[in-house]
Amino acid sequence: MLWYIGKRLIQGLITVWFIATATFFAMHNVPGDPLLNERATTPTIRANLEAKYGLDQPVTTQYFIYLKNIVRGDFGISFAQENREVNDIIREHFPVSAILGVLAVIIAAVGGILWGSLTALYRNRLPDYLIMFLVILGISVPSFVIAAISQLGIVTLNNLAGTTVLPVAGWGTIYHMLVPALVLGLSTMAYLTRLMRSSMLEIVNSDFVRTAKSKGVPPARIFARHQLRNAVLPVITVLGPSIAAITTGGFVVEIVFAIPGLGRFFVEAVQQLDYTVIMGTTVFYGTFLVFMVILVDVIYGFIDPRVRMS
């Protein structure tokens, strides 16, 4: 197991290096640079800026300087927010995204597993139809629409109640995170519900469930031990990438609900061609994603005995 983890970690490092290198050169090959602004700069001012940021060096030199700094964990200073270090940006804003993301993932996973099992239990009956209809909605309606509608819902609710039941936007308390997390986790929840449902239906007809039933195992135990536990495996598999996707994909929700998460920086840096922030967030998220995938593989080993043996 240890050897296995070690091997996966080394693979992960190579992946991260590859991500960093590809991003670096792609970024430098895009027309334009972070120093361009609506207000044209004189050659003097431009030269001063280039010297300040080290952009007067050849790209390959910049690359090696960059790689050296990344290894030391220094991502440099943002071009767009000139007083802030990328490390500070990640340190201050990733926790926000992470808290929101973790909550969204938990809501999505718990909801997905529960709804999925419920639809499988009541297959082709009313709860099934109802939930599966909502699932289709959840998957197909884009998050910015859901975010905007739910925000309008909060305003209406507050107006009806005549007081602030839930905050419309902002960040900081328990009430601020509930709706955004739900919105953020909704499409994942819908996806997981469908996954759980089909997975359950497959298990229901499997030999070991039939055997358990004919042995006279109590239904609740069959459901919990034989069906649920086995059916949940595919859900766990996609959970890792889902965590990464949700934590990094909060851009829309963060903008709508005015949440100071890292997602904004991730997207806006590309538009601004903010080299250091692009590199910082991409490498950070890349590492995060790779780590999540490894983590899921390891967890898988604990849950599924067959994986452990091979």
């Binding site: 895009v30 334009g32 640079d33 361009l36 044209a40 700069t41 004189t42 003097t44 001012i45 001063n48 800026l49 010297a51 300040k52 927010q81 000139e82 007083n83 802030r84 804003h93 926790p95 926000v96 808290i99 973790v102 909550l103 938990i106 809501i107 529960l114 099992s117 419920l118 239990l121 009541y122 297959r123 009956r125 905007a148 925000q151 305003v155 602030t164 905050p167 902002g170 960040w171 900081g172 308390t173 328990i174 995170m177 509930l178 089909s198 229901v204 007809n205 039939r210 239904p219 609740a220 069959i222 459901f223 919990a224 069906q227 709508v256 005015a258 949440i259 100071p260 904004r264 601004q272």
Partner: protein, 569 residues
């Protein structure tokens, strides 16, 4: 596949019931666990944000809550360039000269001043104080200006000092920064020496780059000046006491501020930072923020709610820029004239853009810019434009002859990815295809890529927006000077250059305005560009908040004169 297999479980009601019960138990566990997790996460979230949200207007505390469009990227006055930072800095700092409620120049730190051909003198008031109680002195200005012009500071706006003696030479590294033509004679007397006559210098010093910085405080921040609330020293009506990046800010009344005609609120809370206008509208509806701006689709519901809707021009003029570089077909005057006569800005605004707050543009100079005594545009009427297809087609034929072409090749229209730019681009594309048979190829690029292509001259036509740096017609008038880097279409004309020189250096206001009048006409006759629209915003303010201003020059939103008045309710 699964649906067709033999069902076993769902016929077995007994099994379903027991399993369902088990599921319900799990659901209960899940809800309890979730509640615990939410609680723990909320504790963690408390450390990453501020829960300082309050109602939009808090009468008891004499405070308001507002939303900002974006995090201010640079609060170091010497290096700041963007609108979001200017909003914050205009509340937290004061220059030698400031703007009053009606956007007219008014004494700031300087009590009085004198502008001559060779220089300027500022007499500073005695009671101007920093937020730590120490007096604001002439030395603070001298230090700030010398620092901003220093090549090591790499200030993007260092050019704004170029009218001061030796500034450009210092910025290019040819002279040491000590040689800059500014000198604090004593604590309350600042002498400035000009490189060339600068009649509008009083307007320049109202700009953020000219704001003071105190040397001893600056040195203490060790390169982090402006990075956080406590890394700045303020001399404006408000001071930033709390700043959670990208989340919130608190501006408190500066107890040492001298002027009792500005800064009436005890506290301004920036509780939200979001670019989403719908979110801001929702916050306003819920009474969480004091004002918000409205986009066209929001107007009907705003009117239905009987809100008092106001409009203000934000100062930006948009126009279609031609590429005048030799070898481009758009260098041909007759082609440009054909394109000018085939369109009408009124049609663009009313039929294509449909924003009630936009004004069809008629000139390089917006309607609100000042002239000799009145508004410039009242004294010097914009060239009368009439759409004339006959004339347009005639010029198109002439252009084809001159260029020796049977047909004009497709023209590349470079625009950014903003919805309004896309609307305008498709409008022009359709218009020129129908009316002149010209093919326009739209090249949509995001921000920096568009700028790269504009700067390199990789376009035939493009859209430019120009916002004023200072409150003088020159900020627009010098746009098409051949040496102006902003002139990315490289329009060049000796007449234009001569008139810009006059406007830059003449101390006679009439002579300057005459020059701008000629520039206005020349831009039209030469079709240096085609005017599109002057941008404005519709906005709504809580009726209890008075004195709130949206400005064309300086901060977009201005709370310096805002106060709460409940008597009208």
């Amino acid at each position: 596949m699964i649906e067709n297999s033999t069902p076993i479980a769902d016929r077995n009601d007994n099994f379903t019931r027991s399993a369902g019960k088990q599921l319900a138990v799990y659901a209960l566990y899940a809800v309890v666990t979730l509640a615990v997790v939410v609680y723990l996460l909320a504790i963690a979230a408390g450390h990453t944000g501020s829960n300082g949200a309050d109602m939009g207007i808090n009468v008891a505390n004499n405070s308001i809550t507002i939303a900002l469009r974006e995090e201010p990227p640079q609060l170091d006055t010497g290096r700041s360039t963007d609108g979001a930072s200017v909003i914050v800095l205009s509340h937290a700092f004061e220059g030698l000269i400031a703007y009053d409620e009606e956007a007219q120049l008014t004494p700031g730190v300087a009590e009085r001043w004198e502008i001559r051909t060779d220089g300027a003198t500022f007499w500073l008031r005695e009671d101007a104080r920093w937020s730590d109680g120490q007096p604001v002195t002439a030395h603070d200005f001298e230090f700030a200006w010398k620092r901003a012009i220093d090549p090591a500071t790499a200030s993007e706006y260092s050019f704004i000092f170029y009218s001061i003696k030796n500034a450009e030479a210092i910025n290019t590294g040819q002279l040491p920064k000590e040689t800059l033509g500014v000198r604090a004679v004593n604590d309350r007397l600042l002498e400035v020496e000009f490189e060339q006559a600068t009649p509008y210098f009083d307007k320049l010093v109202a700009f953020v780059t000219y704001f003071p910085v105190r040397e001893d405080f600056y040195e203490r921040t060790d390169g982090r000046y402006g990075a956080d609330a406590d890394e700045l020293l303020y001399n404006g009506p408000y001071m930033i006491t709390e700043w959670v990046h990208s989340a919130s800010m608190i501006w408190k009344k500066n107890p040492y501020y001298w002027n009792d005609k500005r800064g009436f609120l005890d506290e301004i809370r920036v509780a939200y930072i979001t670019a989403d206008t719908n979110a801001k509208l929702n916050l306003f509806k819920d009474g969480q923020i004091a004002d918000t701006h409205l986009e066209s689709p929001m107007l009907p519901s705003a009117m239905a709610a009987h809100w008092q809707i106001d409009r203000a021009m934000d100062g930006t003029v948009f126009f279609v820029v031609f590429n005048h570089r030799p070898g481009r077909v758009t260098d041909n005057l007759n082609l440009r004239k054909a394109m000018l006569y085939a369109q009408d800005p009124v049609e663009l605004v009313n039929k294509a853009l449909k924003d009630a707050a936009f004004l069809p543009a008629a000139s390089l100079f917006p309607v609100w810019v000042g002239g000799v005594k009145e508004k410039f545009r009242e004294e010097y009427a914009a060239p009368k434009h009439q759409m004339d297809l006959e004339k347009a087609r005639h010029h198109l034929e002439l252009a084809k002859q001159e260029l020796g072409l049977a047909a004009i090749p497709p023209l590349v229209l470079l625009v950014d990815a903003q919805p309004v730019s896309q609307l305008a681009a498709t409008y022009y594309q359709e218009l020129y295809r129908q009316r002149l048979g010209l093919e326009i190829r739209i090249d949509s690029q995001i921000f920096k890529q568009r700028l790269a292509k504009m700067t390199a001259g990789d376009f035939d036509i493009t859209v430019a927006g120009w916002a004023p740096d200072y409150d003088d017609a020159l900020t627009y008038g010098e746009f098409f000077a051949s040496w102006n880097l902003q002139n990315r279409g490289r329009y060049a004309s000796a007449d234009m250059d001569a008139d810009v020189r006059i406007a830059q250096t003449s101390l006679d206001q009439k002579e300057r305005m005459d020059a701008f009048g000629r520039i206005q006409q020349l831009v039209y006759d030469d079709v240096a560009m085609i005017p599109m629209y002057e941008r404005g915003w519709s906005f709504v303010v809580d009726p209890r908040l008075k004195g709130f201003r949206r400005r064309s020059v300086g901060p977009e939103i201005d709370y310096n004169y805002a106060y709460i008045d409940v008597s009208s309710d």
